[in-house]
Symmetry: C2
Subunit: 261 residues, 2 copies
Amino acid sequence: MNHKHKQYRGYLIDLDGTVYRGTESIPEATDFIKRLQDAEIPYLFLTNNTTRTRQMVVDKLAGHGITATVDQIYTPSLATRDYLLDKADTKKPLSVYIVGEIGLYQALLQAGFVLDNEHPDYVVVGLDNDLTYDKVKKAVLAIRSGSNFIGTNADKNLPNEEGLVPGAGSVIAFVEAAVQKKALYIGKPERIIVDMALKQLDVARDDVILVGDNYDTDIKAGINSALDSLLVYTGVSTKNQVAQQPIKPTYEINDLTEWKL
Amino acid sequence: MNHKHKQYRGYLIDLDGTVYRGTESIPEATDFIKRLQDAEIPYLFLTNNTTRTRQMVVDKLAGHGITATVDQIYTPSLATRDYLLDKADTKKPLSVYIVGEIGLYQALLQAGFVLDNEHPDYVVVGLDNDLTYDKVKKAVLAIRSGSNFIGTNADKNLPNEEGLVPGAGSVIAFVEAAVQKKALYIGKPERIIVDMALKQLDVARDDVILVGDNYDTDIKAGINSALDSLLVYTGVSTKNQVAQQPIKPTYEINDLTEWKL
């Protein structure tokens, strides 16, 4: 790649596959984050994981030798919060019904939204390892009665130590089948989460680059948001897969040592 | 309609919407079943409900004043059993992993199939009011490791006193999203269940008619199986809906008093 690339003034950085691989650290990424810190370049970690709170993500990063603050963590839980805050009437707090875990609950409840199991303004569906038929039934009945339907992120699978287990996108597909309509998706590769993250980063779109390992979520999020993108081959996407894509990432590298700030 | 229709020597009869509506009886249907009994014409009740055992269905029919034996009840649970018995090697019993309720469990376990949560020959997915993420995860990991994938029936919704709640087809859509392939469906409108029911009824295909209230399941099952069909307007399908269908039922009636044996 051409090392004389544009100098970016802000970074949106994926986590799993980019900064670490599950419990495994990626030293080149740890070093890259240190370089960003030394150069005082602002960045956010942009992950599609909605199950963890921001503090839980901060703690996980600390385990990989990376110092971060909760304000640097941005997820579909936060983006859904910010999307709903934009929609909220100042007179009456929005009501929500949530299918999800602590990361999603905390983001929405701390923002002042109230829970309503029957006639919420919004039904928000994400990954829930304690999912039951009854939770989905409540979501379906509410959406069929007129509640708006948000899906946190479309990832159909999640790699873990057991294999490829069902992700948020599969849970959302369950609800979509039963309500016979599609959710409004918030997470990568949708533009919504990128727009919301840019607001929080407070750097002009043209000066920001999105870094990730997954063409279908990270790079497509860049493409959908008119944001430059950097694909790093330390995670799920392979060079062969990306070679077949009609739209390429702005840059491709083997690991983050190749990237000069 | 022309009352001088062909004389049928066997009947396959849907239940909900045709013989009763939930807890409500349909007297014209009760009378029709009595006429079949008096004329000694063989028939089976052909329902897509997999959650009840045959005895539970017999008891429900008794509550509507209809005498039936367990041998007269045929469901995707039984059709899955018969389909798997056809596939079974005589040397080793087939292993199954089941997402479903007592009706499905009983049909498969009484046939001698053994349960295997990890590497079953077949994963069979149906409606389960006690569905959990963990049950679906086990199904997904097994199918991804090579198990065959059967869906009992494609009904996305089920009407009950709460509204249109998620049906088997929505649960199967959850698994399909996570394994990224389609199930083999057994229930109406598939031909498989009709072929299996005809074997049990033991009357030639040309002499059998399928009676039901639902164009998308009952009548399509007739069409897919080259079986004559009788749509009775006492359930979900309306005349307007059926008028828009390119292929019509063989006969259409308002209620079963209009049908002469």
